[in-house]
Each structure stands twice: as C-alpha cells, then as structure tokens.
Amino acid sequence: MDEQMDRQGVGQVVLELDESISPALDQLRDLVKLSDPALSELGLEALLDELLVSVRGLLKVDTAAILLIDEEEQQLVARAAKGIEEEVEAGVRIPIGGGFAGRIARNRVAIFIPDVDHADILNPILREKGIRSLLGVPLIVEGDLIGVMHVGSLHPRQFDQRDLAVLHLAAARAAPAIERTRLLAVLEREHRIAVALQRSLLPRELGSFAGMTVAARYLPARDEVGGDWYDVIDVGEGRVGIVIGDVVGHGLAAATRMGQLRTALHAYAVEGHGPGRTLQLVDRFTGHLGASAMATAAYALVDAETGHVRLASAGHLPPVVIPSTGDPRLGEIRTVPPLGAFSYRHCPEVEFTMADGETLFFYTDGLIERPGIPLDVSMEELIRALRGAAGAEDACLLAMDRMLPLRGSRDDVAVIALHRTPLPERLDLELPAEPAALTLVRRTLSYWLRKHGIERELAAEIIVAACEACANAVEHAYGPERGSFEITAWLEDGAVAVEVIDHGRWRAPRGEDRGRGMTIVTAAMDEVRLLTDEQGTRILMRRRTQGR
C-alpha cells in the first residue's frame, strides 16, 4: 500500500482509501449499530465510549481516541479515549493544522505514522504512553469537519488498507451520530433554559380579586419552547388587567423576548395607562428591540364592581365570552397590526360590560391551530368546547382537555380566563390563617358592602372592625399547624352582621396594643358578642345601617 500513500514530512504517510477494496466487511457488522438511531438516545459521552470500544476491538489496537472540534477556538478537544484516558482527563487541546491530529483536521485526510519517534507529535501523552504507531481519520458530516478519530499501537505496526477501511467506515458511521447527539445536547440545553426562563417569567400567583376569579394555564410545546405568555395585573381601585401574548418564533430567543414584552406591558399597565395606550407604548418599545421582534397581544382592563371591560388587541385572536347559560360567542375586537410590525399612532379599544357569572376567555393560536384545518373551523370547535364552563378554572380545564392532542401541542399554548362571580347574598369565606389573608378580607368585604349599597364611611368602619377580628383569628391559629378562619357577612333588617370564627384558643388581649384592637371593634359596631370555648373563638358583630 505504500505506493498509494503520499509521503508528507518525516515518518508520516497520508492515506487514501482504495474504494475497490471492501475488506472483511463481515467484521464490520458490529459497526452497523453505530448508525442505529437508538444511539442518539445515548448521551454524547456514552456514544463516544461505545464507539471507541468497538473500534478498538475490531482493529485490535491498544488505544483509540476521539477529538471534537471547538468551533470558537479552532482547536480539537479530546473528548473520549480508550487506553489513553489521560488525554481526556488532561483536556488535551490541539490547534487545527498542528501535530498529528491537527493536520488530519486541516487537510481532511487520513494519516498513518509508522514510527512515532520520528514524527511531529504535539500531544505529550501519546509519547509518554509509549505509542509507536498511529492511524487517524477525519470525522466529516455533510462536508463539515467535526473532529478526528485515531487509533494507536504500543508496538510498531504497519496499518494496512483493511485497517484504514475499517477506521474510515467507523468514522463515516460515527460522525453523523456524534453530530446528532451533539446538536441534541445543545438543543436540549437550550430547551431546558428556555422552559426554566419561561416558567420564571410567568406569574406564579394570579392574585385574588373581589368579585372576580382568574385562572390560567401555560403548556410548553412538545419539542421546543415558544414565546406565549399571560399576565394578571392589579391596576388598583378594583380594576384588574388580563394580558395574553404570543411572540413570533420559538426557542430561547422567543422566550427571552417574551420576558421583555411581558415586563414592558406590565409596567405600562400598572402605571395606569389604558389598554389602547399600553399596547401603543409596548409597540414603540418593541420597535426599540430590533427588527426581529414581533408579537401579538391583547390587554383587557376589567372593573370588578361594574363588569365594565376595555379591550385592545394588537393582532391577537378574539376572546370567547362564556355566559352563565347559553352558547359562548366570540368577543368583539378592533385589532391593529402585531406589536413591532409597523408602528401606529392610535390603538383603538372596544368597551363592553360583563354580566354577573360571565367568563372572558383568552388563548394563543397554539390552542386552535391544526395543520389542514381552517382557523374558523377550529374556533367553532373551541366555542363548543367552552360551552357550560362554570368559571375561570373550568374554562381553562375544558379548553386544554378538549382542544389539545394527547401527545402535546406542536406550538406552545397559553390561556387565561376571568370570571365575574355573581354577588352572593351571604358572603362566606374560609381563609388560611396568615396575615396576607387580611388583604383579601378587606377587598372582598369592601366589594360586597358596596354592592349591597352600604354607604362608604359606614362600610369603612365595618371593614376595620371585621379585620381586627380576623387579625385576632390569624393570631390564635398561629402555630406549627397552620389553621384557617372563617368570615361570614349578611344583611339583616337594617343591619349588617359579620361573624368571624377561628379554631384556635382565645387569648385575652394583653397590653395596650392588643387591647386596642377590641376597642376599635366595639367602637365601630353596635353589638359585639364574643363566644369562646374549646372549639375556638367566635365573634359576632352587628352594625345598624341607619339611625345610629
């Protein structure tokens, strides 16, 4: 075979594979499994290991190693080795073009070194190990060099055409599998980061709002993360903002962009800008992010007390309005182009009023888009799916359950629903005994009193008294096992009654500070009854609504 080898430098031969020789192919049967798609299920390390073990066995060599290219550094990095594991542990790096492996990579040729002592070897480990002869081939996928595989012998050895054929075949089989696995690892890493990012950007808690319930779901795509988002914004003064959005594109970039847009929209909304103005400002912001940024979004600002809704949409799909009885329908929208498409001066709003018991449902296209099915057909399907939804949570559940295939969606999906709860005659809440619950008591009781026509100043005093009683309940139930407390309010003839029940042990107020709470309760209410037994504590309070 010497005639077929170009002499290159001292003691080094460049090999060309003689295609006419197809030697000992039966021996190569082991290598068939290298092209097995199951191999890419293995991690990269496991794949390389498997590969080297079979190459070493086939060629009966002492060492086998794989170096993969580091694109940024233009270097080869030892990634796996058998017989010279030190090479990997030491993190050997070889510049492309330098030394044995470097020249294989640069010239994309096989190189045979019969006697290592007389050759230009950069890697000291090869010498230290006492390797006498080396044979190496490039790893090439679709014309791109991805690395080098070489084998070595501790005794002087004339590698022949058969050996070269085996190594070439192993390289040809292994290279795509390596590349696939490597890409997969990169993609998986990106997917993991993107999912983590997306999760960290979606609101963890939707908040509690008097007179309304909100529910939402986010489902990442089967293969790739997308840029869908939802948001709930407490705008204050009994108003709640509901946002749905969809950044064009997929992957980490889309997830990151989603985070930027969500934050911008939230910030503008919380400043009190209305839906139209908010989208207009976000559109301008999107323009600053660069040409690649584009997204659809809808923002609805809902007044809990009146049910009045202001809605603006930048290219987003219309919401579904679900009445408490009867057929759901598509909500009216006046949409402007998507955010970042081209800037507009004015973003119109539509206004409507939600009836008690109605639910407003927003979604991203991942919920309804299906290959080969027109959008209006799957929208009709969504409307049917939402029929009879009994609230926000139920609407999300029905939509995800009935609209999405079992295997998961190709696109990511976000949905958010807001339900206007009918005003109860009797307010009845059971809450965890923690300080944060007091905020909800205030909001809910305030809403309930106002809706029942209780005059503002009177309501304020009832709320202070009720919350003092609840604060006591929270304190009683404090301890290792977190309890709960109940607050009930109802109207009597010419009076408002509030009852607070906890299951902790009553402690007589101590000191000036504690006593002050009960002073406030008795000052604010006309009648206060404190009942305490081993079951817990019950405070029943009444306040006349007129003629005090």
């Binding site: 905020t439 003092e468 000036e512 002073t519």
Partner: protein, 128 residues
C-alpha cells in the same frame, strides 16, 4: 405588589416619610423597622405622612407608638400627618386616640411644630 410604599426625603435634618398604601399586621413591623433605619442619628425628628394611607388597623397604630418610643430614646421627635376624615383618622377615632399628641392634620403644621423659628424653606437633599 407590596401593600405599602414609603418615599423618603431628608430636609433640614428632618426625615420626611410619606406612606402610600395599606398598613396591617402583614407589613406593620417591616414598615416600622424601615422607618427607624432610615432615620440617621443626626436627624432632629421624623414627619410620618399618612395622608396617602388607604387603610390602617390596630397594628398600624401600634407601629406609630413604637416608632415614637424608639425615636424618643435618641432624643428625636415624631409628627404624624393624619388629615381629617382620612382612613387613618377614622381608625384613630375608633381607637379613641383622636387627640393624641404628635398627630397633626397637615404637613405644614408638622413642619411648623418641629421648626418653631424657621422662616425660609431649606434646600431639599435627596436621601440615599
């Protein structure tokens, strides 16, 4: 979203702290600690402006008393601005603490009572 926010100014050795939001058992302690921390030793006193407070309960009142006690130890005075008919005023009234010393109706009144001989407005130094 936090229940209450405080904006600080330090002017003429007086800490001016304006609270907006609601004060209850979930944030009263934290708020009180923040106020004490924001008051440097060289300050003559604190003006606590509760005009922007939408709700206060007995824990909020407790906060005022504790704050007054901690400031007194350092020889500093406390003035609390509670406008008439404000939510804080209503709670104070229910607690029977309406005419409590140190509670004033307006910011001007607070500053006047802390600077009996002041005639001209001093420069505002933004606090850190």
């Amino acid at each position: 979203m936090s229940l209450a926010e405080v904006r600080y100014d330090f002017r003429d050795r007086i800490v001016y702290a304006a609270v907006r939001g609601e004060i209850d058992m979930s944030n009263a302690d934290e708020l009180g600690e923040g106020l004490v921390e924001a008051t440097p030793n060289e300050a003559r006193g604190v003006v606590l402006d509760l005009a922007g407070v939408q709700y206060v309960d007995s824990r909020g009142i407790q906060l005022m008393y504790r704050l007054r006690a901690s400031l007194r130890v350092r020889g500093q005075t406390l003035r609390i601005v509670v406008p008439a008919q404000s939510p804080v005023h209503n709670t104070l009234r229910l607690a029977g603490l309406d005419g409590e010393a140190g509670v004033v109706r307006t910011l001007e009144e607070a500053l006047r009572s802390m600077n009996p001989d002041q005639s001209s407005g001093a420069q505002i130094e933004p606090s850190a």
